[in-house]
């Protein structure tokens, strides 16, 4: 193995990986906007439709992004708030929160009435729980209904943890993921509420 061969190895690998990465970055740049739009469209919109009260604007366009904290590596975490308006008045604002479930993160969309400080409704956006078991957090309408119309000051934990939410039997982990996500979301909301300018 001569030095020349080693240099050739290093060179080839460097060039190939760099070119690959460059190509990918280009693809990423081209698709970024579209991906964001798709994510909102397919994940957020159905959930938004389900949980927001009547509105006369397009909440997807009327969205604001706010820095809501920092992650463990000091990078900014941003949360998108979707505003539902009626006659120009914000009647509800929705945002997403998540927590680890049984197999993978569980995301929930939370709608809050900013005037009454109540939680209007909750819907599961993403989940990859065990079919027939954990998926009941999304399929069984009775479960998210427990959150509706509760004041923000409620304890959204499971009953076993002293809260007000009854777990789905056999799917405690998934239920807990939802209730944790909601609790976290409410916390976040309380923290950034002043900055929302409502």
């Amino acid at each position: 193995m001569s030095l020349r061969e080693i240099i050739q190895m290093v060179l080839v690998l460097t060039i190939v990986t760099a070119v690959c990465a460059g190509g990918l970055a280009a693809v990423k740049m081209v698709t970024a906007e579209r991906i964001e739009y798709q994510q909102i469209k397919f994940i957020k919109e159905p959930a938004l439709k389900r949980i927001l009260p009547d509105f006369d604007n397009d909440p997807i366009s009327d969205r604001i992004q706010i820095v809501t904290g920092k992650d463990s590596h000091g990078r900014e975490l941003k949360t998108t708030f979707f505003l539902a308006k009626q006659g120009g008045e914000v009647v509800s604002l929705a945002f997403e929160s998540s927590s680890p479930g049984y197999s993978g993160p569980v995301g929930v969309m939370i709608a809050i009435d900013p005037k009454a400080d109540t939680l209007q409704a909750v819907a599961v956006t993403i989940q990859s729980e065990t079919p027939g078991l954990g998926t009941r957090i999304a399929d069984d309408p009775n479960f998210p209904a427990q959150f509706a119309k509760k004041p923000l000051s409620s304890n959204f934990n499971l009953t076993s943890a002293g809260g007000v939410i009854g777990a789905i039997s056999g799917a405690t982990v998934s239920s807990n993921a939802v209730s944790t996500a909601v609790s976290r979301g409410v916390e976040t909301y309380q923290a950034v509420k002043p900055r929302l300018g409502l």
Binding site: L24, R75, G104
Partner: protein
Amino acid sequence: MQEYLLMIVAAMFINNIVLIRFMGNCPVVGVTSSFESAVGMGAAVVFVATMAGTTCWIIQRTILDVLGIEYLQTLVFILVIAALVQFVEIVMQKVAPPLYRALGIFLPLITTNCMVFGVAVLNIKEDHSFMETLVFSLASAVGFGLVLVFMAGLRERMDATGRVPRPLKGVPITLITAGMMGLSFAGLLGMV
């Protein structure tokens, strides 16, 4: 301490990477025809998966996250794994030739073993700390190795005292048996 114990049990058995997450099936089918090769492959995977899991975690946290290029995760991880496997192969061939003869034939297979890559990705997805990454990778790989060894045991007995129909011999019956092993693990659903 307790959560690590729980994590070990969960990764080894309850959420066994092969039988519950269904990753790493090729070696379960391919290298379990003898007990020795199952043990060899298992050992090789334990080593590589642990190294790869921790290395990938470090790269993700110190480079990809910091620079905001998470979308390159797939490219970088697999590059790391491929280089790592080859590095191990080169070193082992020189330093421990007997070990190389025993494990060497399995090493190239590991690059394309989805279990190694899967564990690296799962560590990030499930937001493990470094220690958790180490423990999870090791325990998952050991769980994988155990399945290999159990399967080799079942196959040895089938070989000696069974009479599998000719068209189903080898890969087909091993697949079905793996399916049955997975089916039995349904009993652990909901633990943890």
